[in-house]
Every structure is written in structure tokens, then in C-alpha cells.
């Protein structure tokens, strides 16, 4: 299903409803198929399934219950292009003592002992020809949730906003940020 949604153009749920409403009556027989297709297109536009992670890291425990600030782990976010994902060392501040009996934490411990990084799967990724920089967005007061959704309550992070060109430009237009192609393309 992932592959099917990737092939179809992304639309919002609202667009799907309008399209469905306009084109379903003449095609009563095909309406079921159409509805499924439109659902898939809308689903592709609003949420991409979370990739499998090597360690079951849970944001709702850390950023939610423990209320650790995002910037504690994603240190680059306010000053550079990449937010960056924390090193094993940073997890070990706490996990050298917290929950050391858990099998997941033992996986983490193994990385620490062998001095190897955790190979986290990327969730958000703009194409190679796009330049995205976190710093100016955070400086301009755009909250993480605006683009990433309520990560603090997610057990596993998944992409909830399209972040395709029209989406970026929509917000840039509203905020009088740059619409020059050279701002986002490299």
C-alpha cells in the first residue's frame, strides 16, 4: 500500500471529498474503486507510515511524560540546517541507570559498549535538490508541531504533513518568507 500511495498524486482529504462528490455519480459502478483510490491519495498526503526503528524509542515517554525539551536531543535545530539526532552517549546520561533491565536498553548498551552509532531510520527527507534549513524556521517562531505534528504524544514518529513544494510555499506566502526558487532549490 505504501508503494501505491507513493505512485498516486498527493491530495488532501477535503480535495478527495470534493473530487469524489463531483465524479462519483456518473460512475456508480466504479464508485467503490474510486473511493478507495481517493482514500489512498488522501492518506498519502496526510500521513506516511512510520519506518521501523532499530530501537523502540518512544517520544511520548521522553518528550511527553518525562517532558525533556526537544532541543535537549535535537541540538542543531535552533542554529543549523539539520536538527540532528542525539548520540548514544546522550541516551546514556540517563540509561546507564534508568531501566537497565529492559531488552531495548540492553540493545542501546551494546552500542555504547562497542562504540557504534544507532542506525536510526529517517522519517522526514526532502529530495536532494531541495535545501531545507531548520534554524530560520525556529528563529521565526514556527513550532515543531506545525511541521511534525504532536511528536510528544507519538510512540513512533511518522510524517504527518506533506512538506512538498506547495505546502512549503503556502506557508512562506502567508508569512512573507522567501518564494525565490534559489531559497529552496540547490
Amino acid at each position: 500500500m505504501q508503494y501505491l500511495t507513493a505512485l498516486l498524486p498527493r491530495i488532501t482529504l477535503k480535495q478527495a471529498l470534493i473530487l469524489g462528490g463531483a465524479s462519483a455519480p456518473p460512475l456508480v459502478g466504479g464508485a467503490g474503486v474510486l473511493a478507495i483510490l481517493l482514500y489512498l491519495m488522501a492518506a498519502g498526503g496526510t500521513a506516511t507510515p512510520a519506518p521501523e526503528q532499530p530501537i523502540a524509542f518512544d517520544h511520548s515517554v521522553h518528550a511527553g511524560d518525562a517532558a525533556i525539551p526537544c532541543e535537549f536531543c535535537h541540538r542543531g535545530v535552533g542554529s543549523q540546517a539539520a536538527a540532528t539526532v542525539p548520540s548514544v552517549e546522550q541516551c546514556m546520561f540517563c540509561h546507564s541507570v534508568v531501566k537497565t533491565d529492559s531488552p531495548q536498553i540492553q540493545l542501546l548498551q551494546a552500542h555504547w559498549d562497542t562504540n557504534t552509532p544507532v542506525n536510526w531510520a529517517r522519517v522526514h527527507r526532502v529530495p536532494d535538490h531541495v535545501r531545507f534549513v531548520h534554524a530560520p524556521h525556529i528563529q521565526a517562531g514556527v513550532a515543531c508541531e506545525t511541521c511534525h505534528g504532536d511528536v510528544a504524544s507519538m510512540e513512533e514518529v511518522k510524517q504527518v504533513r506533506s512538506l512538498a513544494m506547495g505546502d512549503c510555499q503556502g506557508c512562506h506566502r502567508e508569512n512573507s518568507a522567501s518564494l525565490d526558487c534559489a531559497t529552496c532549490h540547490k
Partner: protein, 278 residues
């Protein structure tokens, strides 16, 4: 100026075939009135090619193997043109570094059917690689021959593939590429300046070519910034300054400085003599 205003007006209502509105000139870019440009002092250029190498490395330009050069399909966003003045033994080598002139009135921009090349509000002639469909009209329209077509997908032998610059797209087969004035460096400085809550300092942006020039023959600047040293230089040295193929009216953003050699004429007379004797 009025012509660009007309152009902006005619673009204001432009709607692409996909039904999306294309941003107007006023909406595009930063309004500060920056015009990025370069002053090239030919009296300082020694033709060492450091700029060529630096540019190649910074911008992920494919390697120019011998075969490519022979086919005249080598890519060098900046190249050193060499001219001989006089005859041996009274010969002098003259060098002219030629790069995209970022023309204010660029012939390449008007011929692009998909608006993949356009002028931004900071005086850059921008090439949007992912937009380019490879008609090559722009390369044919460019009087300076500084636009290069990718006839092949670029390849780098190990371990050179590991030195690619992540801030620059690797261009695929079938599209045009050219000097960007290292727009990735301009963007980076702009974000840094914004994060630190200040204006960009004069001379803070350095493209790879200017940075690597051992004699400072290439100097990058905001031509509209009266404070910038090169802009002042171009002004002060008005007698020495010219632009390439001025009579085409392309309004280049690259200004060349060259002292007219008072002896050049004498040499020429000598040749005439030498010729007459022979």
C-alpha cells in the same frame, strides 16, 4: 527599470498549466536591493587556474577527462581564456577568467520555455536544475558560452565520490548547469546573519573561486553596496573598467579591470617592421 516593471506586471497574473499561480517578481526573493557581482582585476590574474580547481571541487562538477575535452564537452563553470599579445620573443600571455556574467539583461533567461533560469532579486541568474528540461536554448543564447550541458551522468572514481559537496545538487544527464556565484554560500551566510540578528557584512560571502585566488584578482561583492571595497575600486578605476561584450547590452554583473598598456601600440609597430623586413 520600466521594462522590468512591465515584465513584472505581465507576469503578475501568470498561471502555470498545473493551475498554480507563479509568484510575481515582487513576491520572489528578498527586497534589500542586493546585486551580487564580481570585480576581476586582469592586471592581477596570473592564469594559475586555482579558481578553476576550487570551483570544480565546490560545485560537484564532473571530471573533465581528455576525451571530453577533445569532444568540446568539458565543463568548467569558470575558465581561463589565454590570449597571446605580440610575437615570440616579444610575446605576452594575457588571461581572462570567464564565468557566468549574471547579466542584468540576460539573453538566456528569456529563451527558457519552462522558466528554469530566471533572475532573482539579488541579481543572480539562477538555474533551477530540477525544473530544467534540457532544450539548451539558453546555452545557445549565451554570448559568453558559460552554460554547460550534461551529456552524461557524472561519475567520480573512488574515493573522490566521497568529497561531494552536500550543499550542491549533483546534476544528471540532460540538463544545463553553470556558475551560481556559489549560491549555497550566499544562502548559508544569509541564514547565519539572520540567526545572529545582524546584516551581512561586506566581504562575508566568498565564492570558491574568489576565496582561492592567490592574487585577489577575483573579488566578490554586492555591487549596490557603496561600502564594499570592490565596488569602490570599480568606481575609482573607471578608466580601467569594462564589461565583456559591452555592446550587446547584457548589463553583466562581472566587471573587468585592465590597464591599457601604453607600450602595446609600440610592440605592434615593431611587428609591422619585423614583418616588412622578413
Amino acid at each position: 527599470m520600466s521594462s522590468s516593471a512591465n515584465e513584472a506586471a505581465s507576469r503578475a497574473s501568470a498561471v502555470s498549466s498545473m493551475g498554480q499561480t507563479i509568484p510575481t517578481d515582487a513576491e520572489v526573493g528578498h527586497p534589500e536591493g542586493v546585486r551580487w557581482g564580481m570585480v576581476v582585476d586582469l592586471d592581477r590574474c596570473t592564469g594559475c587556474q586555482a579558481c578553476v580547481v576550487a570551483c570544480q571541487a565546490e560545485n560537484n562538477i564532473a571530471l573533465n577527462e581528455e576525451q571530453r575535452v577533445l569532444e568540446r564537452r568539458a565543463k568548467t563553470w569558470i575558465r581561463i581564456e589565454r590570449y597571446w599579445e605580440g610575437e615570440f620573443p616579444n610575446a605576452k600571455a594575457r588571461f581572462i577568467p570567464v564565468l557566468c556574467q549574471h547579466c542584468g539583461n540576460a539573453p538566456c533567461e528569456t529563451v527558457c520555455p519552462v522558466w528554469a533560469t530566471y533572475h532573482n532579486n539579488e541579481g543572480l541568474n539562477v538555474q533551477v536544475y530540477n525544473r530544467c528540461i534540457g532544450t539548451r536554448f539558453c546555452a545557445n543564447g549565451c554570448p559568453y558560452s558559460v552554460r554547460y550541458f550534461n551529456f552524461w551522468n557524472p561519475e567520480w572514481p573512488e574515493p573522490m565520490n566521497n568529497q561531494l559537496n552536500p550543499d550542491v545538487t549533483v546534476r544528471t544527464k540532460g540538463i544545463i548547469e553553470k556558475c551560481t556565484f556559489c549560491v549555497q554560500r550566499i544562502n548559508r551566510v544569509q541564514v547565519t546573519a539572520k540567526t545572529e540578528g545582524r546584516e551581512i557584512r561586506s566581504g562575508e560571502v566568498q565564492p570558491a573561486c574568489a576565496q582561492s585566488c592567490p592574487t585577489s584578482a577575483l573579488v566578490f561583492c554586492d555591487l549596490n553596496d557603496p561600502e564594499s571595497a570592490p565596488a569602490q575600486l570599480a568606481e575609482a578605476e573607471a578608466g580601467r573598467s569594462y564589461t565583456l561584450l559591452e555592446h550587446f547590452g547584457t548589463d553583466p554583473g562581472v566587471i573587468y579591470l585592465k590597464k591599457v598598456d601604453p607600450h602595446a601600440e609600440i610592440h605592434e609597430d615593431e611587428h609591422v617592421h619585423a614583418g616588412a623586413h622578413a
